[in-house]
Symmetry: C2
Subunit: 236 residues, 2 copies
């Protein structure tokens, strides 16, 4: 926050909100309370995207709760344009799933409409400075959601009923090669065993995983965290 020391060009902003009241409210607030330059506003995502292409602002304040084309898809599209626009997501309430998805697709900040005006300005300031802004309460919620989503992923992997647990070491090696789309012959060469041995292993794998062909075996392996296990062992 070395404001005033370095040369600071006024950040140019576009505000998007389908509610005109909110839109003009935020616009006024920014124009009065800060020295940012609101170059345009839009009440729909599609209009917003054209405006962004035209004006190339540094910052976009994007309301997430909009009918028609919603804010999240709009963010995704803008990010895809790769214009270096930094997007701040705006919303009325703090749904952790919304925050997660917004951050996932590239939002650089997330603020609630209920927040104090000073904090809004501060958030824009931070994001304009290349940082990422999340209010403390939201970042906590974000992390909880983040951890939860990964916990669910790994829970399945460690599940008792994961048929992959019944595979022997050698069978795992064979399955590993199968999940790379390698044929009997290829597996035999890689493991220095005969082709018929590979077939035996593969058949045992099928029985243990209760499937009928390689594709299903590979799919079972992939869906039940087969690749993750070695990652867990080698490097988490």
């Amino acid at each position: 926050m070395r404001r005033g020391i370095e040369f600071k060009k006024k950040a140019r902003i576009i505000i998007v909100d389908d509610n005109y009241e909110h839109l003009s409210g935020i616009k006024e607030l920014i124009e009065i309370e800060s020295d940012f330059d609101v170059v345009a506003t839009a009440t729909s995502a599609s209009v917003a995207i054209s405006l962004i292409k035209k004006y190339r602002p540094e910052i976009v304040l994007m309301d997430i709760n909009m009918p028609e084309k919603d804010g999240l898809t709009a963010i995704a599209e803008i990010e895809k344009l790769d214009l270096g626009v930094r997007i701040i997501a705006l919303t009325g309430y703090d749904d952790p799933d919304l925050i997660f998805r917004a951050m996932k697709i590239g939002a650089k900040g997330y603020i609630l409409k209920t927040m104090a005006s000073a904090q809004l300005i501060y958030a824009i300031d931070e994001v304009a400075a290349g940082k990422i802004y999340l209010p403390a309460t939201l970042s906590s919620r974000f992390f909880e959601y983040f951890q939860q989503s990964f916990k669910e992923e790994t829970e399945n992997v460690e599940d008792e009923e994961n048929l992959l647990n019944y595979l022997t070491q050698r069978e795992e090696e064979v399955l590993d090669l199968l999940t790379q789309g390698i044929t009997y012959k290829g597996v035999a060469q890689k493991l220095f065993i005969s082709e018929t041995t590979v077939k035996t292993h593969v058949n045992n794998i099928f029985q243990k995983l209760q499937v009928n062909d390689r594709t299903q075996a590979v799919l079972y392996a992939l869906n039940n965290g087969f690749l993750n296990r070695r990652k867990v062992k080698i490097a988490i």
Copy 2:
């Protein structure tokens, strides 16, 4: 931070660090500067795990950079025990990948050894209160890493060179069924077309994806976001 108002049991802590100097330094600091109760310390992850099982502390301070069994796998194991222990990761430098992985497997806080002692106490306080603690600089790095990892995921999907883009509608339908491990006959029945037609489609798919068999086709599809496309369209 309503300290003193509510009834507050002294949080019990176990500290893990292979460097004995650091270990006793942190222990002393906590004992002098706070009212937490350091019930045990350990210089190795395996010892730490036994101690945790025995003492059931509320908080564990875990050094990530340890030889032998490293801190990350230790965290994963402790989380798997599901004892309600809240783990704070400790490290000397702020490697975004390390932070990401620690948070991913369930760390509730992340602090640098170089941080001021008051901040360490504050961090423990927060985590003990059920919150998640990340210093502002680290949370920024975390988010950048987080977004980067998802960006790479989606970049592939939208890539020009994604051979999936060359598939026709019908071919996509067929491939979709292949990724469910369905055979020629099954696909034919589901799509109400002849089995030989399915074979024609499948062969065209192979050529377009430059693969030789179904397994490879399925793997290509999965690795290049085939399933995501419909998700992207429906709900991001």
